[in-house]
């Protein structure tokens, strides 16, 4: 099917609407993986990192967490520990982990 010029606009608008933080990730699978590879540093609750320079993840936007992990995996974001961790994750792992951490209650907010 040929897409007409006017249809591209409709497709772009639908894509923009669809780009919501609701992720396809599986929270239960994410929790399982998180316990194995993330919890030791970020805390089992995603809210108690063991070092003050590590971030809290609980309640953070899932699509931001996906972006962060993809950027580590491609080494666009540089951090020796996180690049190594992200390289061991599949795209499904990344979606699952992000959905899991986004689902946790946390202290993060957009407060001014």
């Amino acid at each position: 099917m040929r897409v007409m010029p006017g249809q591209w606009l409709a497709i772009a608008m639908l894509a923009a609407l669809g780009a919501s933080p609701v992720l396809a990730g599986d929270v239960a699978k994410g929790r399982e993986k998180a316990d194995q590879v993330c919890a030791a540093c970020h805390g089992k609750d995603g809210n108690t990192p063991i070092d003050p320079s590590y971030p809290k993840l609980a309640g953070q936007h899932g699509d931001y967490l996906v972006r962060a992990l993809l950027d580590y995996k491609s080494e666009q974001r540089k951090n020796a520990i996180m690049v190594a961790q992200a390289k061991g994750l599949s795209r499904a792992d990344i979606d699952n982990l992000s959905a899991f951490y986004a689902s946790l209650p946390g202290t993060l907010s957009h407060k001014r």
């Binding site: 590590y54 993060l108 907010s109 407060k111």
Partner: protein
């Protein structure tokens, strides 16, 4: 004579030592509150998305750990993180600005 010289040397050295220790600036949340004008246009708007080069929700930074926030700003300033807007903003921040903003947002 030698004793006197040692004491004066120690008196000179002491403040120098404490000054050197103070080299890493300490964050002041109240000072940070006056520096948020460049942050709030994106980070204080729920649902706001970064749109270039990728589309994703702008992260929540209020309540984040101060050490991480300072490290993130330093990485943007240095180029270890690549988001164009954040790189430009971080480039304009001093070491003191970074720790003040980190202290402010960590306390939110």
């Amino acid at each position: 004579m030698i004793k006197k010289a040692l004491i004066s040397a120690a008196l000179v050295a002491l403040p120098l030592a404490s000054q050197a220790q103070g080299a890493a600036p300490k964050g002041d949340a109240a000072a940070g509150a006056k520096k948020v004008s460049m942050c709030i246009g994106c980070h204080a708007i729920p649902g706001y998305k970064a749109s270039f080069p990728n589309v994703y929700s702008v992260p929540m930074i209020s309540g984040q750990t101060a050490g991480y926030l300072a490290a993130a700003l330093e990485q943007y300033r240095k180029g270890d993180r690549s988001h164009p807007t954040m790189r430009a903003i971080a480039a304009s921040l001093s070491d003191q600005d970074i720790v003040d903003l980190a202290a402010y947002y960590a306390a939110r």
